[in-house]
């Protein structure tokens, strides 16, 4: 029952062994390191150095003795120690010969930045490169990629800018453009990242290999992947089914539609495939599909900070009744269950809110309330163990300004975490521009918060639930 293309597929242990050397290298070689500013071989060197990589950097250059103050070698073979990964920054036509040397040196992984292979219709050259790599048992990332980041090792093996917001999301992209969005978005939102990996032409290493590594990587808690095609859907389904039991796996599948599939075919020759099959297979494998680039990014950002819910009961606590309605719509859209409020709990909430505030679920505390009302109701929501997740709807007032709200929520959540009670809390903040700062403050404290939207926080919570359900952590719904 193999899929069409026969791909190289070592067993899981072998994959892991190579991947662990690539992601935790003691030495990184740069084939085509350069002293000339603007050159990719120069940017890679800078990023390795400025990114704070602590291992050995091994510049390889035909003439230079030193690159950026580091001893350079004419051939990688001249270097005495073991090298774990070689980053290529030489033109495509030089890559096969260089790969031969890298292979002879016994390097287990090559990061192939150069373009000029299958994506420029030069499939034969890519085949030649792959054959050479296989001959020496070198695993290839790419070609035609921006490289990769692995923040736990301060490793920026890429020509993009250095990057240092450490966190627990590992992301990969088939396309460089999407990779750049990941970097920009991560920097702008301070999304915590463990890894960003370019897969490009995917001549060898692909999503299933990454999953095998991230599965056991203690620095990674959520995995998000952009892909245009799965080169080997069966391997992916197999590995993803296993990994998604432990960590959320998110996928943005590009080329979902007739237009997109056609564009993918002309862009990378990707056979985007029958989306209905992708959909069913990914669902069966417990993979969460991101409907858009932005949602892939938001899921990666949010799922890593949210704890896993212990059950389906979601409660909305809102200052803005209007937000309560929109948040409820969003719960429905995202398959979340608004808890039917037990009478005693309803009465308990009512004690804290004005008589005309609507109890039930949403708990509508009404607009003009002081911080205390938010505090009391949120505390109750965290306390009562029939409630499994909270959605907060904040409304900007003079009585409870944005940062006051953010601080009180941060405190209450922290207080309960200290007691061992850690429920997912997401928030929608509507108000003037100060709500933006408040959202960042909350996100930094593990509360998934967004300004000017009621949908996004609920979508992120919905994705966490989808994962938890598929992973069998919530029992049958």
């Amino acid at each position: 029952f193999e899929a069409h293309t026969q791909r190289y597929r070592p067993n899981q242990d072998e994959i892991l062994k190579a991947m662990n050397r690539i992601f935790h290298p003691k030495a990184v070689a740069v084939i085509g390191a350069s002293n000339e500013t603007g050159k990719i071989g120069n940017s890679v060197m800078k990023n390795l150095i400025n990114g704070g990589y602590k291992g050995q950097i091994v510049p390889v250059h035909p003439k230079a003795d030193e690159i950026m103050g580091i001893k350079a070698y004419k051939s990688i073979k001249d270097y005495q120690g073991e090298v774990d990964v070689a980053v290529f920054a030489v033109p495509a036509h030089l890559c096969v010969a260089a790969m031969d040397e890298v292979g002879q040196k016994g390097v287990p992984g090559a990061v192939m930045i150069p373009s000029g292979f299958a994506e420029t219709d030069n499939q034969p050259l890519q085949d030649e490169l792959l054959a050479m790599a296989r001959k020496h048992n070198v695993r290839i990332m790419g070609p035609n990629i921006y490289g990769f980041y692995y923040t736990p090792e301060n490793l920026c093996a890429t020509f993009c800018t250095a990057f240092d917001v450490k966190g627990k999301a590992a992301l990969s992209s088939q396309s460089g453009g999407v990779g750049m969005s990941i970097i920009g978005f991560a920097r702008s939102t301070k999304m915590g990242v463990s890894a960003i990996v370019g897969l490009g032409n995917k001549s060898d290493l692909d999503e299933d290999d990454l999953l095998t590594f991230f599965e056991q990587d203690p620095n990674t808690q959520a995995i998000a992947m952009h892909c245009e095609d799965l080169k080997d859907g069966r391997s992916f389904a197999e590995v993803a089914s296993r990994v998604s039991k432990k960590k959320p796996v998110i996928m943005l599948k590009a080329g979902r539609t007739a237009y997109g599939a056609r564009a993918a075919a002309s862009h990378t020759g990707a056979l985007a495939g029958n989306d209905k099959i992708y959909d069913d297979v990914l669902k069966a494998a417990g993979v969460i599909r991101a409907p858009s680039l932005r949602s892939m990014l938001e899921f990666a950002r949010g799922l890593q900070v949210l704890p896993t819910p212990k059950g389906e009961n979601v409660v909305i606590i809102t200052g803005a009744g209007g937000s309560g309605v929109l948040l409820s719509d969003a719960c429905f859209d995202n398959g979340l269950t608004l808890m039917k409020m037990p009478e005693d709990l309803d009465a308990a909430f009512r004690k804290f809110i004005p008589p005309f505030g609507a109890a039930g679920n949403p708990v509508d505390i009404t607009g003009g309330e002081p911080p205390k009302t938010y505090q009391n109701t949120i505390r109750l929501g965290l306390e009562d163990d029939r409630i499994h997740s909270l959605i907060l709807g904040y409304w900007h007032t003079i009585v409870t300004p944005p940062m006051v709200f953010a601080q009180l929520v941060g405190e209450v959540v922290e207080e309960f975490r200290a007691k061992g009670i850690d429920k997912p809390v997401v928030a929608s903040l509507v108000g003037d521009v100060q709500v933006e700062e408040a959202c960042q403050y909350l996100y930094d404290r593990g509360v998934v918060a967004y300004p000017y939207t009621t949908e996004t926080p609920v979508e992120v919570l919905g994705a966490k639930y989808k994962w938890a359900r598929a992973a069998g952590l919530l029992g049958k719904k």
């Binding site: 029952f1 859907g233 495939g273 029958n274 209905k276």
Partner: protein, 240 residues
């Protein structure tokens, strides 16, 4: 998007797909009501990768070995239709078989509920003409004469596809003429467990029909699952 799902074809065509000649193929299994065995509507000659035809008996034997129940029937030439009908006795169905006929019903190559041998023979003869009028390149020479089955409780689409990314897959959904309008199918990778098959049969529209939708009798879920398993098993056995 329901891209790539070819219109319904007979078991005839499905067999060719399983045998590797085509990528897409689906066929309908008519699932019995609770307690009755699960009959399958339609069985035709099987063609192997080699292009050599298996005869109907061989095809049935192969499917039977995987536990599938199919209506009794024979593949015969035009002159033998009456005899075949007489041999089966009772109500029969006559289907015109031809390479080019993906949709027998639409092509006029399907006659249901024939009461006598004469009626079967007449239907076959008329069929040759009807089909030729619509497409002069088709001359019907082989006919499947089958026992007419009682109206099924529920037609279910069961499809085998060979997907370039995922290999051999099984598709399950609501069958019958409205299949495209309901348009709800589930695809599983093969081999698939019985649990997954049962889940696919009890999901969404199909699940509601299976339970006995709007006062209709319920489908026999276990029989349906077994029929699907049999087809899947056959496909897996034939597949690479």
């Amino acid at each position: 998007m329901r891209a790539g799902l070819a219109p319904l074809q007979g078991l005839h065509d499905a067999m060719r797909a399983i045998n590797g000649a085509a990528v897409h193929a689906e066929w309908r299994a008519s699932l019995a009501s609770r307690g009755r065995p699960a009959p399958l509507a339609g069985v035709g000659p099987l063609e192997e990768r080699t292009g050599r035809f298996r005869d109907e008996a061989q095809g049935k034997a192969a499917l039977a070995a995987h536990g599938l129940r199919t209506p009794e029937g024979r593949v015969v030439g035009l002159s033998e239709v009456a005899a075949a009908a007489r041999g089966l006795g009772g109500l029969v169905v006559v289907k015109g078989l031809h390479e080019k006929l993906a949709h027998k019903t639409e092509a006029g190559a399907m006659a249901l509920g024939l009461e006598t041998a004469q009626a079967a023979q007449d239907a076959a003869r008329r069929m040759v003409g009807t089909v030729a009028t619509r497409d002069p390149s088709i001359r019907l020479e082989r006919f499947l004469v089958e026992r007419m089955l009682p109206h099924p409780v529920l037609e279910t689409l069961v499809g085998i596809q060979r997907d370039p990314q995922f290999g051999l897959t099984l598709t399950i959904g609501v069958g019958g003429v409205l299949v495209e309008l309901i348009g709800e199918v589930t695809t599983l990778l093969l081999p698939a467990g019985r649990d997954d098959i049962v889940a696919a049969l009890t999901r969404g529209a199909l699940g509601r029909l299976m339970q006995g939708y709007r006062g209709r009798p319920a489908g026999d879920l276990e029989a349906a699952a077994s029929a699907v398993e049999a087809i899947a098993g056959y496909a897996v056995a034939q597949g690479d």
